[in-house]
């Protein structure tokens, strides 16, 4: 959509807090089950943010949306700090420690299910983007706003829907990471850069490419840590990102387009 949403990390954080909240609350809802709820909440929030705030500057230079979403992420993260304090929280379920073994390989159940859900959501998104009417409208708007509008697409609504979907997916990610990572108001920061790297590796605007990007990134980070030491893993990942941007700006799996 040509909008870089820095507030994506803040959305992830909110998703994690919603799962935490429902888990410790009287309902004692399992984080895997609270995924739909956090997705709905964040969809609505992201829709409203795009519709009433970001849409105001969507035709301005790219820097405007970049800064706007950055400012929004500051606002959201600090409001979270006001209401939930900066205490580190975590979720421990009765299956937190259990894992499945394939010979020498041990995979925690939580990670395995996280992977399954992430892959399922990616394919659901891919199907939605290619097969549904709204998905086509989103792709049309991203290609040419004015032509889409002339064809009867309500572009303001479509922009808002797109950020809403992004927010819902961020919320799903937040609910999933709430099971294995510490929950703090600033937890989103580390994810937002990784989300960038992964999308660029996969190719911006390429849904299934993001899966491959994520896989490649994970491997690079792990090997970077192995060969150069734990501290260098971010450096290695970012150097790879720079090389990809410079030599394959359409992503590792994408094709150059005019």
């Amino acid at each position: 959509m040509n909008v870089i949403n820095i507030a994506h990390g803040a959305f992830i954080m909110l998703g994690a807090y919603i799962s935490y909240w429902l888990f410790v609350g009287p309902m004692h809802l399992d984080p895997f089950l609270s995924i739909p709820l956090s997705m709905i909440v964040l969809f609505v929030l992201a829709y409203l943010i795009q519709r009433f705030i970001v849409n105001q500057v969507i035709r301005a230079p790219m820097l405007a949306t970049f800064l706007l979403t950055f400012a929004l992420s500051i606002v959201i993260a600090n409001l979270a700090q006001v209401y939930w304090t900066s205490d580190i929280r975590s979720i421990t379920t009765n299956y937190s420690g259990s894992s499945i073994e394939f010979g020498p390989i041990t995979i925690p159940w939580i990670r395995l299910w996280t992977l399954i859900i992430a892959v399922a959501l990616t394919f659901a998104l891919q199907a939605f983007m290619t097969r549904s009417k709204i998905g086509r409208a989103i792709r049309a708007t991203s290609m040419d706003v004015d032509a889409a509008r002339l064809s009867g697409v309500s572009v303001a609504h479509i922009y808002a829907l797109t950020l809403g979907i992004g927010g819902a997916l961020a919320a799903a990610a937040g609910s999933l990471v709430s099971l294995s990572y510490a929950i703090t108001p600033t937890m989103g920061d580390s994810f937002v850069v990784r989300a960038f790297v992964v999308s660029v590796l996969g190719g911006l605007g390429n849904v299934t490419g993001a899966l491959i990007g994520g896989l490649v990134y994970g491997v690079i980070e792990a090997f970077g840590a192995l060969f150069f030491g734990e501290g260098y893993k971010d450096v290695v990942a970012l150097v790879v990102l720079l090389l990809v941007i410079l030599f394959r700006p359409y992503g590792l799996v994408g094709r150059a387009t005019a």
Binding site: M62, L67, I74, V239
Partner: protein, 319 residues
């Protein structure tokens, strides 16, 4: 004389006059103003690449950090005097900009922003692993508690950066930068060597930023990676420049003055997350309502307050 030029001279004169201030102020105000001069120089430096050339760099804070570390290394490990450390910092920052800028300034839009952002984050992570630079635990510098010295030095850097901007704006080089911002292909067709021009602009921007970083390091006498590579510095540079007016001569300083004043006022009220909430909300309003910054209003006088024009402008950027 153009109103814009007259306004710039007035601001420069005010800044020059403020050199007389520190002996009459208490320590806290000297500190506040020194910080204001520093942020203004950073914003002025960002304006050269982001405002004139139209390349929104999210990596300028890297030059602040490398400048600070170059100076710290020179003084701490090599036992150089501060002046040599400052010159080294300027050279290292400019060199870094040349090496990084050559490939990166070919990118545009999102890719340029992400590439510069990753340089900023990557450099911070890299410096935090280098043993000669104290790894993540930072470096100390000789203590100099003559705070008036830093006041004058930061003021000097700021005035130099404004004079440099004013000089650039009148030369072929300045026009070339604006031409690149408006239409890079057309500029190239006119015979402008876009690559060299952009790299040169980023080197100048880096040199100023590196000088400010070195002075900051000596001023606080302790630096560590999260402080001097703090991305918030970079965002503040951009917001101050946009608030004042990107591509203008003293706009960044005006924006820095307003934001510093607001920050100081909020900070005086309380140091809490609310401070950041309000700052974030102010940025949202600035980005939406003042896309061209305050400069047109400041130099154009009362006639610039044209509600209809503003409404048209807002409508044009909306969807």
């Amino acid at each position: 004389m153009q109103p814009g030029r007259r306004f710039s001279y007035a601001v420069l004169a005010l800044l020059a006059l403020s050199a007389l201030l520190p002996t009459h102020l208490n320590g806290n105000w000297v500190h506040v103003l020194t910080l204001f001069f520093m942020m203004s120089s950073l914003a002025q430096a960002w304006n050269l690449i982001g405002g004139f050339a139209g390349y929104p760099s999210f990596g300028n804070v890297t030059f602040f950090g490398t400048g600070a570390y170059a100076c710290a290394y020179a003084m701490n490990a090599l036992h150089w005097p501060f002046v040599s450390g400052l010159l080294l910092a300027i050279a290292v920052a400019a060199l870094f900009a040349a090496v990084a800028g050559w490939p990166i300034l070919r990118l545009r839009g999102h890719y340029f922003a992400i590439a510069t952002l990753s340089i900023a984050i990557g450099t911070q992570a890299f410096v935090a692993e280098l043993p000669p630079l104290g790894k993540g635990s930072g470096m100390t510098l000789p203590i100099n508690s003559n705070f008036h010295f830093f006041y004058w030095l930061m003021l000097g850097i700021l005035i130099a950066s404004i004079v440099l901007t004013a000089a650039i704006a009148q030369t072929r080089f300045g026009y070339a930068l604006v031409a690149i911002r408006e239409n890079e292909e057309a500029a190239t067709v006119l015979g402008i060597n876009a690559a060299t021009t952009k790299v040169l602009a980023w080197m100048l921007s880096a040199a100023i930023t590196g000088a400010a970083g070195a002075t900051y390091a000596y001023w606080t006498s302790f630096i560590d990676p999260p402080t001097v590579f703090d991305l918030n510095f970079n965002v503040l540079m951009i917001i101050m420049t946009l608030l004042g007016g990107a591509g203008s001569i003293v706009g960044p300083t005006i924006g820095s003055f307003i934001l510093s004043a607001i920050g100081e006022y909020l900070g005086a009220l309380s140091v809490s997350p609310w401070h950041s909430v309000v700052l974030g909300a102010i940025i949202v309003v600035i980005v939406i309502v003042l896309p061209r910054g305050l400069m047109p209003y400041l130099t154009g006088g009362i006639r610039a307050f044209n509600l209809n024009a503003l409404r048209m402008q807002l409508r044009a950027s909306r969807i």
